[in-house]
Symmetry: C2
Subunit: 236 residues, 2 copies
């Protein structure tokens, strides 16, 4: 699920969402609207599949089909990144991948700290999709001392006390929280104090963070409830 919620503008303290874009407005720096930003990763995913298949050029109609948006939305999104296509021809796949990656600020080997080594944390630590997109889980922390020393993915679980040290030495700016709801806020506070600027939160809690810190929330129950709504609606 995608949530969203940026503790940037208006003044409401906490962040909330499920990957969907709540609210309007543009980020301060770039000229990309929030909906556009939320769609770019999907384009990147479809482009990677095309590149693997050896496709070098793609039209907005084709790419739109692969990403579930309309061709008009796709062209508008891409044109906001610059003049990437050629009329009558289409878009070059490789150049498009590069342009989107640059627009998203994806840098090679971005370190990410993961807090929580339970089932969910373990799943996240072993998720290969991060590596393919330039992200690397550089540390896994857990409050349970019994887990310290165990492997998760390619890293070894460390005790929670080493949170600040892990953030400092890796210079990570992004963190993933797969911890129980009860400790989520305090973990978030520590992460932010240590220098983290983006949080992906799986705990069913609305985190309160200072301005300048972005929270995206993934709440599994919320997702299922929205799904249940659509399903119930169809029954009527």
């Amino acid at each position: 699920m995608s949530g969203d919620g940026t503790a940037d503008g208006g003044g409401h303290g906490s962040s909330h969402g499920s990957g969907h874009g709540t609210g309007h407005g543009r980020g301060p720096g770039s000229g990309l609207s929030r909906p556009t930003v939320s769609r770019l990763p999907g384009y990147l995913r479809a482009l990677a599949a095309l590149a693997r298949a050896g496709t070098v050029r793609v039209s907005s109609t084709d790419l739109a089909r692969h990403t579930g948006v309309s061709p008009a939305v796709l062209r508008r999104d891409l044109s906001s990144l610059g003049q990437l296509g050629r009329r009558g021809v289409g878009y070059p796949v490789a150049a498009l991948q590069q342009a989107i990656s640059r627009a998203l600020g994806l840098v090679e080997d971005q370190p990410v700290v993961l807090v929580g080594a339970g089932h969910l944390g373990s799943a996240l630590a072993g998720y290969t999709g991060f590596g393919e997109r330039g992200m690397r889980v550089c540390a896994v922390l857990d409050a349970d001392p019994g887990l310290a020393g165990q492997r998760r993915g390619s890293v070894v679980v460390r005790p929670l006390e080493e949170l600040e040290g892990s953030v400092a030495e890796s210079e990570a700016r992004l963190a993933i929280m797969a911890v129980p709801a009860g400790v989520a806020q305090s973990v978030a506070d520590r992460l932010v104090a240590a220098g983290i600027r983006g949080l992906l939160n799986f705990a069913p809690v609305d985190l309160v963070v200072p301005r300048g810190v972005t929270v995206r929330a993934v709440d599994l129950s919320t997702e299922l409830q929205i799904l249940a709504f659509h399903q119930a609606e169809l029954r009527q």
Copy 2:
């Protein structure tokens, strides 16, 4: 992440999103807008916390603070469910919980089929949040015969061949997919053919489903990429 994407109206075949609301429009049945539906679960969560704390009445300003939306949005959302508050007084917590649950079509003990018993599937099977919200994982299936018979949460893993039978006997209409990208579409096809009408997809693939079936996508890489964008934007 909340994704969204309903294969209802417009015509673009696949669904895409991450819990965020892409697109506009209202569901066919109720008079609830998509953004409203996506916010209701958050209200329910905040209300549950208030109820646990013994609060019986809450104002839109207070509840808004707990959910990260503006009071105006909250009042508008709630008024679309009916006249639930009293001017000068506020909203009764218990009645609000009931009204939102009813609006979301939450019924007691809604069965959900889970496909995939890896780390992520195990985390989902053990997630207690579902039970608290009237959902129950009634079956866990996995293609790996070695996992059959093992416990996940309170149910026993069954071989993938029993997918159709599991859906039929449980009469489930919702399913969660925690399977590899390569098999996601074929699993989705089988689930839909068996009668599933709502899919929560964790595989990084845009599923193509018939109209009348809702897909919500949770793509962890997408979430992190959006987070990276916000973080990079702040650096400029």
